[in-house]
């Protein structure tokens, strides 16, 4: 028997959306938040359907119904993304408003997000990611969307709606330290990236002209790359302490065995391999006949480098910057173990005190920072890639 002709409205949900819907349904059955008398002891679970105030519950339910409808009708991905993002905001607001249920007398009581909240956030986040994957937006549009998300989140945080949540309680207790460590983290990641660019690209150019140096350098940097971060950070303490105490003026610059100096050098060493290797592969990919043509036009070596080779290798160089930046933001977390500061301070303090909220205060900004850095770099790379009609090498 042949299937009936499609009706006017044909349900469009596919396997991915069914899985995500099942995840959301499962998340609703899990505890949404945990109310604890203080930071350490286990608390009492609250569910989404009885914890938050009525308006917040209604908001979440309405947003989820809208999402189901939009998905079922097979609306455009862009509309689905907007509805999913609204549902996500409703979930976050519901968590914030649940904090209003805290007993006002107990200053130590706190409301932590629980499994249900995380699963709901995760499933909705995946829904947004799926929407973007199908929409295939240009990197610039992706960047705009992420910036909008950052602005909305910043607005939510500064509105005070969420200030009752445990992670923000941890933040309120140490906001000065938080921003100091944030600056330190970014400084470590970007500073070592800048140093890697200044050293790595000229070194790559040198290796490009001298094949024997290239083999040795790549081998050495490959080995450095495999040394575990915690080991490299630790091993550098020795030489940095020696430099700090023996080289005149070094300790005035802040070079010492413990602190940011060995962390900075370790991040720099890790950054060199991607920088040098990509400089080499970018230069190697410049077509021979273009170089010949440049030579034929009477360009000097220097002109050829800056007007032909570097512009053509730019996307590959920026790809290296992306790798290094994301990697450094992650690795800078480890710097806290040797007194180098950064968000790792909260992660390791939290691990030491068995305080999950403090761990999250360090880990979530690190993850967010790495993600935003990756999106910004992706947009830059796409922008720098040769377009048709503008220096394309076909």
């Amino acid at each position: 028997m042949r299937p009936a002709a499609p009706m006017s409205i044909k349900p469009q949900a596919d396997a991915v959306q069914l899985v995500l819907a099942a995840l959301i349904a499962f998340a609703l059955a899990l505890p949404f938040a945990t109310l604890k008398p203080n930071r350490i002891v286990p608390g009492q679970p609250l569910f989404l359907l009885d914890g938050p105030p009525f308006w917040a519950r209604a908001l979440v339910i309405l947003a989820l119904i809208a999402l189901a409808t939009v998905t079922w009708l097979g609306c455009r991905p862009s509309l689905r993304i907007v509805v999913t993002a609204t549902a996500l905001m409703a979930v976050i607001l519901a968590l914030g408003s649940t904090a209003g249920h805290l007993p006002p007398s107990n200053a130590y009581a706190r409301l932590s997000p629980a499994a249900g909240f995380w699963l709901l956030t995760g499933a909705l986040g995946l829904g947004i990611a799926d929407g973007f994957a199908r929409l295939k937006p240009s990197p610039l549009a992706g960047l705009m969307a992420v910036l909008a998300a950052v602005l909305i989140l910043a607005g939510l945080f500064s509105s005070g709606w969420l200030s009752g949540i445990s992670i923000l309680r941890e933040y309120q207790g140490r906001s000065d330290v938080f921003w100091r460590e944030a600056v330190q983290h970014v400084w470590l990641a970007i500073g070592s990236l800048a140093a890697a660019i200044i050293i790595g690209i000229p070194f790559g150019l040198l290796c490009h002209r001298r094949p024997r140096l290239k083999a040795v350098a790549l081998n050495g940097l490959n080995i450095v790359q495999t040394i575990p971060s915690i080991a490299l950070f630790g091993i550098l303490i020795g030489p940095m302490a020696w430099i700090g105490s023996h080289v005149p003026g070094a300790s005035a610059l802040g070079i010492a065995g413990i602190g940011a100096a060995p962390a900075f050098v370790a991040l720099l060493l890790y950054s060199l391999l991607p920088m040098v290797a990509n400089t080499l592969s970018g230069l190697a990919a410049v077509p021979r006949d273009l170089i010949e043509a440049a030579r034929g036009m009477g360009m000097t070596d220097r002109q050829r480098l800056w007007k032909v080779e570097v512009p053509l290798a730019l996307p590959v160089l920026l790809a290296a910057v992306r790798i290094v930046l994301v990697q450094n933001i992650g690795l800078a977390t480890v710097a806290a173990l040797i007194g180098g500061g950064g968000f790792g301070v909260f992660v390791f303090q939290g691990l030491g005190q068995n305080a999950a909220d403090l761990i999250l205060l360090g880990a979530l900004p690190t993850v967010g920072l790495a993600f935003v850095a990756a999106v910004i770099m992706d947009a830059l790379i796409a922008w720098s890639a040769p377009r048709k009609g503008r220096g394309s090498i076909a």
């Binding site: 992660v347 999950a356 761990i359």
Partner: protein, 248 residues
């Protein structure tokens, strides 16, 4: 480079590493100058070989688990019936790789408590992404003539996967496994901050008691393991690549 000039330094490295694990006292003179005169220069709270063993078992076990899961997932999303998961799984792999390993480890602790368990799970989750991505690349960039020939010769989908697709993707699968294992060996060391039993314990003890001998000892041990694993798997990858070239 000849085979001997490549193999001999690695064999020496392996022997030194095994010596350090089994007879650490032999290395006392090397580490002595790094420690204060009153402090011990060889870590003695636990046997180095047992720490090394549990370090390797933890990282290798988690990465093997990641290998099975990631290759299965990559196979599923490249079949016609699983294709609707392909765009999402691609973007998960892209986004997931921006997550710092330390953050993944730290986030596993609130959920799973302290010890080997969160470290194992964090290593497994983090190890999934590189293997998934390279396997996916391998399975989606197979030469079209080969695929047509396989289909034309009347192979079932399962036969095609087993005898054509997976063997051709093998070099890339091994490359992903290598990336994951090296990251895993490195992150397992940080696992000691959440009380996993690994060589990181030696480094952390050194950092806490300001004993450079411990830091260098643990650091060299972990680095040695990672470099040897990297080398061994690179050799395996080259072997697999050569084999597929013969096969094609």
């Amino acid at each position: 480079m000849t085979f001997a000039s490549r193999a001999i330094p690695r064999l020496i490295g392996l022997c030194l590493l095994l010596g350090l694990f089994l007879q650490p006292q032999l290395f006392e003179p090397v580490f002595r100058p790094l420690a204060n005169t009153s402090a011990p220069s060889i870590y003695a709270q636990a046997e180095l070989w047992s720490l090394a063993l549990s370090h390797v078992v933890l990282a290798l076990g988690a990465t093997l688990g990641a290998l099975i899961l990631a290759v299965s997932a990559a196979v599923v999303v490249t079949r016609s019936w699983g294709a609707s998961f392909l765009p999402l799984s691609r973007s998960i792999a892209n986004i997931g790789q921006t997550f710092p390993p330390v953050a993944v480890l730290a986030l596993a602790v609130p959920a799973l408590g302290f010890g080997d368990r969160p470290t194992f799970v964090a290593l497994l989750i983090y190890g999934l992404l590189p293997i998934f991505e390279t396997t996916l690349t391998g399975l989606t960039t197979l030469p079209a003539p080969v695929m047509e020939a396989a289909r034309g010769s009347g192979m079932t989908e399962w036969q095609c996967l087993r005898t054509v697709e997976l063997p051709l993707a093998l070099p890339l699968i091994v490359a992903g496994f290598r990336l994951s294992l090296v990251i895993g060996l490195s992150t397992a060391a940080i696992g000691s901050t959440v009380a996993a039993r690994t060589l990181g314990e030696v480094i952390i003890a050194g950092l806490q008691s300001n004993n450079l001998a411990f830091i260098v000892q643990g650091g060299l041990a972990v680095a040695g393991l990672a470099v040897l694993a990297h080398d061994a798997l690179t050799a395996l990858e080259i072997w697999a690549r050569r084999r597929t070239r013969l096969a094609v």
